[in-house]
């Protein structure tokens, strides 16, 4: 079942000017529900731009993007924020937690935007925090936590809405290898429960744990195959 369908996507900055940059130069891609996909490529290859477009953080310059069969490229701000809220959970390399809020409040935020009621919210937040084993850190601020703990809070925030897609942009990039492995293990756990995982990394060792590997270079897909066939 097609979950994500990209049809000839271009992302061009400063189009028709001297300093024109083509971050994506005609990318077509289909990702089915329940896949675990790794997108790899050197820095500047356009993999982050691709993730931003999949996650509706950015709109393509040209090309159509369908999510669940709906054309995203035509949506207005309200609809896009709804998709970011309900369909996608983001995990960033730099965690992107709001420093003024506690772990609990950070995780709670997407539910507030969704309009979930207070008692139900508390239940969902603790369920997510417990799942990642950081419920004892609930009332700490991000600055009072280690990198691994912060990333776990960020993952809790990504899964608290039970979004069907998790987008992880270098989730282990700022962590030591041991903590990184734990985070990766969490992602695999979510995958086993049926969540579609899209992982962006430049680390081939991490990519090798995915089911499918997409290699991108200079804004085009140069390789798209199951892990077993991929040259890493």
């Amino acid at each position: 079942m097609k979950l994500i369908e990209l049809d000839n996507i271009f992302k061009i900055y400063n189009e028709d000017m001297e300093n024109e940059v083509r971050a994506l130069n005609g990318v077509s891609l289909i990702i089915d529900k329940g896949e675990f996909v790794a997108i790899i490529g050197p820095s500047g290859s356009g993999k982050s731009t691709l993730m931003n477009i999949i996650g509706c953080l950015d709109l393509p310059t040209y090309g159509d993007y369908f999510l669940n069969g709906q054309l995203v490229s035509d949506m207005d701000d309200g609809e896009l924020s709804k998709i970011r809220n309900r369909e996608v959970g983001f995990i960033f390399q730099s965690f992107n937690l709001i420093p003024a809020l506690s772990a609990y409040e950070n995780v709670e935020l997407p539910l507030i935007y969704q309009g979930v009621r207070g008692d139900k919210r508390e239940e969902m937040v603790f369920e997510a925090l417990e799942k990642l084993g950081i419920e004892d850190r609930a009332y700490h601020r991000p600055t009072e936590m280690s990198g691994g703990q912060q990333q776990r809070v960020a993952i809790a925030r990504a899964i608290v809405t039970r979004a069907p897609i998790i987008l992880a942009d270098e989730p282990t990039g700022a962590l030591d290898s041991k903590t990184g492995e734990t985070v990766l293990e969490i992602l695999h756990g979510l995958h086993r429960e049926g969540t579609t995982i899209i992982l962006i990394t430049h680390d081939s060792r991490i990519a090798s744990t995915a089911e499918r590997i997409i290699r991108i270079s200079d804004g085009v897909i140069v390789q798209d195959c199951p892990r077993e066939e991929a040259e890493l």
Binding site: L57, S81, K82, N96, I98, I112, Y113, Q114
Partner: protein, 398 residues
């Protein structure tokens, strides 16, 4: 996201940046306090003017008429004034004795520091027309007038001078060469000023023959029942007098204190507009300060805005969040400003006018409401700016 959450978020952000919030509020605090103090002072002085006129008597008409020929119009005018009784509470002749001092034993009013007293000759309605109240003794009566009694009622200032700390009732004072028995003293109306309305005395108007050697009385004071009746009485008196006297035969005037009061009130109204305007400008400057800070906040929190957008914050929710933040800052500033304004008004009232001044409730509510409107107004641009950021770009911010 609901409004309650937005308020919670706004308070959180205000309290995590305490110093900045207070500095931002300062503009609003000073602005609101300035508006309240200035307007209160103007209103206070306006009230003082009104009180002053009221103590002299509102709805009081001074009628003045004489003929070049010296022909006497006193009786006709007096009778006409009395005939207006559906408009009028009281009428009194208002003659002056210019002759000189009043003496009691060896004390003479020649020695009074700011000039001698004004001696009036009036009827039993003199005190009614001129807003005097008897404090001790009795007022001039109809019989005193009718029987040519040589009696006198003293104003508070004159009593104090001639009879300090003594009961003057029954004592005899001398005006010119004529003895007058003191029958009463009026309450003080104007205890503070040196050139006082209380430095006066009244004798029956029938004494005009004795003191001024004439039967002619050129001035009357008419006390009308209301503001409306004052206008009507002026019209009628003017009509009556123009039938009696023309430019060639004499002169007359019909004036009421109301006119002067209205003129003075108009002047203070203009002053209140000017001062209120100046204070309003300071409030505006405070508002611009808010906008400035909110813009800085937007810049500082670009990343936070990006994160909020990435996890589902819509444009609308970001706008609401920033608007609520700036209006809460303004509202708190407004309330603190009202507090400072009240204290300032009390102090200013004491220092400048020596009275207890309190700002009006309407103005207080208005000031707070205005500062909230200011918060929304000046928060709008930064809020829109914040909400318009692309999530990717916002996330990239340091």
């Amino acid at each position: 996201m609901n409004i309650g959450q937005s308020f919670k978020m706004a308070f959180k952000s205000i309290f995590t940046n305490k110093v900045r919030s207070i500095l931002t509020m300062l503009g609003i605090i000073i602005g609101v306090a300035a508006v309240i103090i200035m307007v209160s002072i103007v209103e206070g002085s306006n009230k003082q003017i009104r009180d002053y006129y009221e103590s002299m008597g509102t709805n009081k008409i001074n009628v003045y008429a004489y003929k070049w020929s010296g022909e006497d119009v006193t009786d006709e005018l007096y009778e006409y004034c009395l005939s207006l009784d559906e408009l009028v509470l009281g009428v009194t002749p208002n003659a002056y004795y210019w002759g000189g001092s009043i003496r009691y034993k060896t004390v003479s009013t020649d020695k009074m520091e700011y000039g001698g007293p004004q001696v009036y000759m009036g009827s039993d309605q003199f005190s009614l027309c001129n807003n005097f109240e008897i404090e001790i003794g009795r007022d001039i009566s109809y019989l005193d007038v009718k029987n040519y009694n040589q009696v006198i009622v003293l104003g508070a200032r004159l009593k104090e001078f001639l009879f300090p700390y003594r009961d003057p009732i029954g004592e005899v004072v001398t005006i010119g060469e004529y003895p007058f028995t003191v029958i009463g003293v009026y309450e003080a109306k104007d205890p503070n000023s040196t050139w006082s309305m209380d430095n006066m005395a009244v004798v029956p108007y029938t004494m005009v023959r004795l003191l001024n050697k004439t039967n002619r009385i050129e001035e009357f004071v008419v006390k009308a029942r209301s503001k409306k009746d004052t206008t009507e009485a002026i019209t009628r008196l003017t009509g009556f007098l123009s039938g009696l006297i023309d430019e060639n035969s004499g002169y007359f005037s019909v004036n009421s204190q109301n006119q002067w009061m209205e003129q003075d009130e108009k002047a203070t109204r203009i002053m209140s507009l000017v001062l209120g305007g100046i204070a309003g400008i300071s409030l505006l400057v405070g508002g611009i300060g808010i906008m400035n800070i909110m813009l800085v906040t937007v810049k500082e929190r670009t990343r936070e805005i990006g994160i909020r957008k990435a996890i589902g914050g819509s444009r609308k929710s970001i706008i609401i969040q920033f608007l609520i933040e700036s209006s809460v800052i303004c509202a708190i500033g407004g309330i603190l400003g009202v507090t400072v304004g009240y204290l300032g008004t009390l102090v200013a009232g004491k220092l400048i006018m020596d009275i207890v001044l309190t700002p009006s409730v309407t103005m207080t509510i208005g000031a707070v409401a205005f500062s909230v409107v200011l918060g929304i107004g000046f928060g709008m641009y930064p809020a829109i700016k914040a909400s318009g950021l692309q999530p990717v770009e916002a996330l990239r911010a340091e």
